[in-house]
Point group: C2
Chain length 236, copies 2
DNA sequence: GAGTGGTCTAGACCACTGT
DNA sequence: CAGTGGTCTAGACCACTCT
């Protein structure tokens, strides 16, 4: 683990331990430098990381302050490591409806940059959050990158398998978000009625190499899912 | 404008000018340093900024590459500067339904950290995207921070007014996202039917001082709105 | 004006990629 | 192992806030 990541973690822990509220001020740079025995730039990087994660905000000339969210029980929308990363807050399980090798539709081929006749792994799952239906998910995996997949893996976490067994580095993703009316098939699976609302998310996942390896269409249950998104200033 | 922001802008412009595709490689550090006559750290900061904005991705030991989105016509979900920031891509207009001073409901008081009897500006608007109904928005503004507001301002951009006239620095926001069924009032305003889907977003906006100054409830038209969200790796 | 965070530099050294 | 990006340092200087 890098130095600035470690410092970030330690600072985050100190916030949790001391149970600091929104607006609480952290020690100044001089103190942080002395406490952690690192240079100023390392503190700067650590704090930038915490700011990116929405844990603090910095005010030039004033100080560094704790940022707190006001509501609990929301799925973090900017995470792209799958739900399993949401350590313990939610209990996510999956039921595999289908796992096969198929020639995907055009839309998927384009997103994954595949040839006409290249087949992919197709996985259709229902995912549950604390034993309630959360979403239905259809995923297409580039077989060049994911050469093997089975039901047992898909029942647990495919992303964990990619990371640990295949040593893949999932790095960034693009989400395309729509609200839709469910058709018969979809509503049956979600235990809802035809015409009920649903949140449709098309997501394209990239490895750190920049290659797209997974395209997923997910429809969320409109009652059992709610999302949280923190924005930080990007443009001045 | 800061040096690294300027460099970021120049690099972005060079990507646009040369019409570089996804995966195209940028010049290496040495060349960038020479081209822009700055130190390595400044290049690092500029590239970090572009990565945060989803314009490039960096691979250690390999290079810096262009990141391109695959679809157009989606509203950027991680922007928190209002739509007006989406320079030209969309034409956003507003119709003011109500503008008054009220004692807000409990939920709003909590979010804005207000006293029992503190009044706020309440604004209800319909917003249009390219002349189609985009959303209905109910906003509550802390009067201590926004001491004056009128219909003319609300018809244009309240955020622009905050930034330019009041010199406020809007810095970050929290979004809480739900999918709902519309009730009669909501569907009438959105020109839809009762029971149709809607995307409800509660958003709390903060100044760079860390003070919450605006709480908004927005319901988006499920056909006329679609959103885009780029994720970047936050946790290793 | 004192104190705080933010930028920028030059350079040493580390870590990863690709051949 | 050459080449590329990433980390880390020490220190000068800048910009903002608060009182």
């Amino acid at each position: 683990m890098l130095k600035y990541e470690k410092i970030a973690l330690l600072i985050e822990e100190s916030i949790v331990e001391n149970n600091l509220n929104h607006g609480s001020r952290l020690p100044n740079f001089k103190e942080l430098i002395e406490t952690y025995h690192v240079s100023k730039s390392t503190i700067v990087k650590a704090l930038d990381l915490l700011e990116k994660r929405g844990i603090i905000y910095q005010i030039q000339g004033s100080g560094v302050f704790v940022r707190r969210k006001k509501r609990k029980g929301y799925i973090n929308f900017s995470e792209n490591q799958g739900f399993t990363a949401d350590l313990g807050e939610f209990d996510i399980t999956s039921k595999v409806l289908e796992l096969s090798e198929v020639i995907p539709p055009l839309e998927v081929r384009e997103h994954l940059s595949l040839d006409d006749k290249e087949s992919v792994y197709y996985v259709k799952r229902i995912r549950y959050i604390n034993s309630q239906v959360l979403c239905i998910e259809e995923s297409y995996y580039n077989k060049t990158i994911i050469p093997y997949l089975n039901v047992e893996i898909a029942e647990h976490s495919i992303f964990d398998y990619c990371k640990t067994a295949l040593k893949l580095n999932i790095s960034f993703s693009d989400k395309y978000i729509h609200v839709i009316k469910l058709n018969k098939d979809e509503s049956d699976l979600l235990e809802l009625k035809e015409g009920d609302p649903g949140l449709l998310i098309d997501e394209l996942f990239y490895l750190s190499s920049g290659e797209a390896f997974d395209f997923s269409k997910t429809i969320y249950h409109y009652v059992n899912s709610q999302f949280f998104l923190q924005s930080t200033k990007i443009y001045s």
